[in-house]
């Protein structure tokens, strides 16, 4: 095994971390720094993606399906252990992939939205954020999760606030996110603290073993409190209804590339974290049978796929509309995890990937519109199909995916989720999932009608197609969502593996 292969898990987080530092230094030393910062970020993000793909390969081909790595060669549970199975390898792929593609997109968009003398800081923050998200996903250590979560959050507050160049409300949105995010993080920290108190360890697998050894676990109030703190804190982080109110503002006013990046990764990692805690630390038995944690989650998820989607219909700002839709889509993922059978979880995990591709692509397309027209109000989309046909086609295809039309990736996730509902005997939920996709039809079609079936109003500014880098990035995501909609086998099998890993409660 070569040096690189051996240290792959560590390199994946270290590369963007040092990349960020170097970006700041480089940007301060060299003056004409715009394209340099961008180029450097691009190299870092694509290299990271390349490393993640190699890691994914080694996970799939390994006999146990798990790759472990001890930070600084300190073995777990004393040292920090990185532990990669199918589930987090898959989430890593989503995060690294989206980061790479959105960085490609960012070139012109950042030029237009971020002051020139800060672009190197912007890209540095971005890399820190990526580092945090990758780290949360890859680590097997509970406290490490918290630390990296803080890195991610701080970087993303700053990134969102940098949207002030376009709209000063970004500052308020960032502040709001900061307050709620900090509350959520404190809850998570408290939860981890209680667990540490009980088990004396921070390694997740070790925690699980110790917890299971506690006599009279079901009557133990401390475990229950830890569970509750974690559940609430994580729900805030993943923007599960009714704790989603920070999300629309944050995604609306963030710089375009950041909206796409965060919308496709941050909440997904939140969902991942929640279920890593629920399944791996507390175990399937405790989380879903001893205490009815899944009933709370199911109820929240059921509301989440209805209420934010209805809010989305009423929005007049397309970025805000997509943000509300994201809050709705989180409901699907949580629902699948909470039903907790093979099919429903496969649906959830596939949806992590599929939604990232579709929604990321749509946010990028909106970013291109903002770059050309300076606004994402629905009226700017009137008749845009003739002026920016490729971008708008990508946007529309992404929208169809959001609805879950067959031959798009959204259909694959929906199909598994419905089957999971039926297998578990939750008939009303299956009907609800189907009916909720009609809400998506309404808000997507509202836009499709404007784009393709409305004449461009008199006196509207002339526009031309978006720059090539923007289009390439958008189409990369949309085409992948279409490809995995027609050939769902790869993603479905990966997700199926991950689901059976979690269900067998293997650490």
């Amino acid at each position: 095994m070569s040096f690189i292969d051996f240290h792959l898990p560590a390199l994946i987080t270290l590369l963007p971390l040092f990349g960020g530092v170097i970006s700041v230094v480089l940007g301060t030393l060299v003056k004409p720094r715009r394209d340099l910062s961008w180029g450097f970020a691009l190299v870092v993000s694509w290299t990271t993606l390349f490393l993640v793909v190699r890691l994914l390969e080694s996970v799939v081909t390994s006999a146990t399906g798990v790759v472990t790595y001890n930070m600084g060669s300190w073995p777990g549970p004393w040292g920090i252990e990185y532990r990669v199975d199918h589930l987090n390898a898959f989430v890593l792929l989503v995060v690294a992939g989206i980061s790479a593609v959105t960085t490609l997109f960012a070139r012109h968009s950042v030029d237009a939205e971020i002051p020139r003398d800060r672009s190197h800081i912007f890209y540095a923050l971005w890399m820190f954020c990526t580092c945090g998200l990758l780290g949360i996903t890859i680590t097997g250590d509970a406290f490490n999760v918290y630390v990296l979560l803080e890195i991610t959050s701080l970087a993303s507050y700053a990134l969102i606030a940098m949207g002030k160049g376009r709209d000063r409300r970004a500052l308020l949105a960032a502040l709001r996110y900061l307050i709620l995010g900090t509350i959520g993080a404190s809850f998570i920290l408290l939860g981890i603290g209680y667990l540490l108190m009980l088990t004396g360890t921070l390694n997740m697998a070790d925690m699980h073993t110790t917890l299971m050894a506690i006599p009279n676990l079901e009557g133990n109030r401390t475990v229950l409190v830890a569970f509750a703190f974690l559940l609430v804190g994580l729900s805030l982080k993943m923007a599960l209804f009714p704790l989603h109110m920070w999300l629309p503002g944050a995604y609306t006013y963030a710089p375009s590339a950041i909206s796409a990046f965060l919308a496709s990764t941050a909440t997904k990692v939140g969902v991942y974290m929640a279920f890593r805690f629920l399944y791996t630390i507390f175990g399937h038995e405790y989380s879903f049978n001893t205490i009815p944690g899944h009933n709370v989650l199911l109820a929240c998820a059921a509301f989440a796929i209805v209420v934010p989607n209805i809010s989305a219909i009423r929005q007049t700002e397309v970025k805000r509309l997509l943000a509300f839709s994201s809050a709705g889509q989180i409901g699907y993922m949580v629902m699948g995890f909470a039903i907790a059978n093979q099919d429903s979880m496969t649906g959830s995990i596939v949806h992590l990937f599929n939604h990232a591709a579709m929604k990321g692509g749509m946010f990028l397309a909106v970013g291109a519109v903002i770059y050309r027209l300076g606004s994402s109000h629905v009226q700017t989309f009137d008749g845009l199909g003739k002026r920016m046909p490729f971008t708008m086609l990508a946007f529309s295809l992404g929208g169809l995916g959001l609805v879950g039309f067959p031959l798009t990736a959204g259909f694959i996730s929906k199909w598994y989720l419905i089957k999971g509902c039926l297998v578990a005997g939750y008939w009303p939920l299956a009907v609800l999932v189907l009916a909720a996709s009609l809400l998506a039809v309404i808000y997507v079609w509202k836009l499709i009608e404007r784009i393709w079936f409305t004449e461009r109003p008199e006196g509207a500014p002339e526009v031309s197609e978006a720059p090539a880098t923007m289009q390439i990035a958008t189409w990369m995501l949309i085409l992948s969502s279409l490809y995995f909609g027609v050939r769902g086998e790869f993603t479905a099998e990966m997700a199926g593996q991950a689901a059976s890993f979690l269900l067998e409660a293997r650490p």
């Binding site: 039309f405 067959p406 694959i412 299956a430 009609l438 039809v441 079936f453």
Partner: protein, 514 residues
């Protein structure tokens, strides 16, 4: 590897898809673009003829199902697969033969009207035909569902073509009803079937055998599932899922003609028959009496549709309600489950298509030539447009089901089928409907030929959009452009030919379910 233009389901789908690409490429040169449409339509027809002759040969040896062609697994266990089978051949044959006539007609109509966005129009048309071929040759319910939805999406731009607020609103109804029914009922039904049986492949025995023998499916569940399918297939327009059909009449007439007499509505009833015969299996359905309810539902739609049609003054709306009524003949045939009734359903798919498309062509020709849209405005117009009105009369007779026109065969088989199923009262429904057809369709043609125009034609208001189209001489023949008139004469003669020589279609119909 499949040879170039070999007669297989995959090439039948590839040809219109390539056609759509060519249409976009040639978008700037209308003549080239239209040539691409016609060339594609011709090639497709040739391929479908090839498939048909293969199917007839297979039928002569007692077979029905052809080879399976796969586009690969979409999900583990769920593949996009295609397979030639008699019912599918009938539908593909109808769609491809009428597409070429309709393309000629479209060119005449769209050019006479100086419509905008014609490239988008022809492209979506070709994509709709791709979906039709996918539906016709789908070898499992999953594939059928995929292309059923693709057809909805690809026809939406056609319905909303005019882009006026009214058109967009109607198109919204169209999409709303079709998507709601298909997502809430059909998809749920498909998922339930997959969950209960783990099998979605079409076969004469159906997929439920094992599950029924294990006692996992009760009579009530079977009836409920069947209802999910029939109401889920909103394109079959069984009341109350019919609202989209009149709404869709806002589309340009060639769209109404092909899509709402042939492709879309026939996709609906085709799917109903296919599901009845090959997914549930007639024997299983009969054993549970699961389709009985739909004999009544279809009978109600037949009468109610005709009833509403009588009071419509707008010609296209009247035809739309007539279509709703006629589609339920096919649903009725499927729900009766008797072999003759199913054959009647298959026949009616063809006969109604040729008859109704003629009626729509005529409505469009009348609009192009005289700008008349209401039935009450047609007095005396037959003397100016003799070809159009003669064709209209022939098609009317076919829809009513009178010899010597094709429609009489399907009605005859349906009646025999209702006797076989021991439901004599259905015959009276069919008779009553025929009488109602006479009452609301026949006067249109007779009014044109025999009544004198209301008042001497006032000095024509000059339509600013079409100043040069019509030399408005008060007397003499004023037909629509020749590209409009020729296709409608051909389809009318087609109805006649289908009476005289229905043998190949009959042969295909006899293969259904064997």
């Amino acid at each position: 590897m499949i040879g170039f233009l070999e007669a297989t389901p995959l090439t039948a789908m590839a040809v219109p898809t390539v056609g759509a690409l060519l249409i976009v490429l040639f978008g700037r040169w209308p003549n080239l673009r239209e040539a691409a449409t016609l060339l594609t339509a011709g090639t497709l027809l040739w391929i479908v003829f090839g498939i048909t002759s293969g199917q007839l040969a297979r039928g002569a040896e007692g077979g029905n199902f052809g080879e399976v062609y796969s586009l690969g697994q979409m999900l583990p266990g769920l593949a996009l697969e295609f397979r030639v089978e008699a019912l599918g051949v009938i539908y593909a044959l109808v769609a491809s033969s009428l597409w070429i006539l309709n393309s000629l007609y479209s060119i005449g109509y769209m050019r006479a009207h100086h419509e905008k966005n014609q490239t988008r129009f022809y492209m979506c048309f070709a994509l709709a035909i791709t979906s039709v071929m996918g539906i016709a040759f789908a070898s499992n319910m999953f594939t059928l569902f995929v292309f059923y939805e693709a057809l909805t999406i690809s026809t939406f731009p056609l319905v909303a073509h005019a882009s006026t607020p009214h058109a967009v609103r109607s198109a919204r109804t169209y999409l709303g009803v079709l998507v709601t029914t298909s997502v809430c009922f059909l998809l749920l039904g498909v998922a339930l079937t997959w969950f209960l049986t783990g099998d979605l492949d079409f076969s004469p025995a159906g997929v439920f055998g094992q599950a029924i023998d294990d006692g996992r499916i009760s009579a009530g569940m079977m009836a409920g599932l069947y209802a999910l399918y029939v109401y889920g297939i909103g394109k079959a327009a069984v009341m109350p899922t019919h609202r989209w059909l009149p709404a869709a009449m806002v589309a340009p007439t060639p769209v109404s003609a092909l899509l709402h007499a042939v492709a879309v509505v026939k996709a609906g009833v085709f799917s109903v028959v296919k599901v009845t015969v090959y997914l549930f299996g007639t024997e299983r359905l009969m054993a549970f009496g699961a389709s009985d309810f739909f004999v009544y539902a279809a009978a109600f739609t037949i009468i109610a549709g005709s009833g509403v049609a009588m009071f419509q003054d707008n010609l296209k709306r009247r035809l739309a309600y007539s279509t709703i009524s006629q589609l339920s003949y096919i649903v009725l045939g499927a729900a009766l489950l008797a072999p003759a009734a199913i054959q009647g359903a298959g026949l009616h798919l063809v006969m109604h298509a040729w008859g109704k498309i003629t009626l729509f062509f005529c409505a469009g020709a009348i609009y192009v030539a005289a700008h008349k849209t209401e039935v009450s405005q047609l007095k005396g117009l037959g003397r100016k447009m003799p070809f159009t009105f003669a064709a209209f009369l022939l098609a009317t007779l076919s829809i009513i089901g009178l010899p010597p026109l094709g429609g009489s065969w399907s009605k005859f088989y349906l009646m025999v089928g209702s006797l076989e199923a021991d439901k004599q009262w259905v015959i009276w429904i069919l008779v009553a409907s025929s009488l109602m057809n006479i009452a609301y369709l026949l006067p249109i043609a007779t009014r044109g030929f025999f009544l004198a125009p209301d008042e001497p034609p006032a000095p024509e208001k000059h339509d600013p959009h079409h100043p040069e189209d019509h030399g408005h001489n008060a007397s003499g023949i004023q037909e629509a452009p020749v590209l409009c008139v020729v296709p409608l004469c051909l389809t009318a003669l087609g109805s006649l030919a289908l009476f005289i020589y229905p043998d190949p279609i009959l042969d295909l119909c006899r293969m259904i379910g064997s």
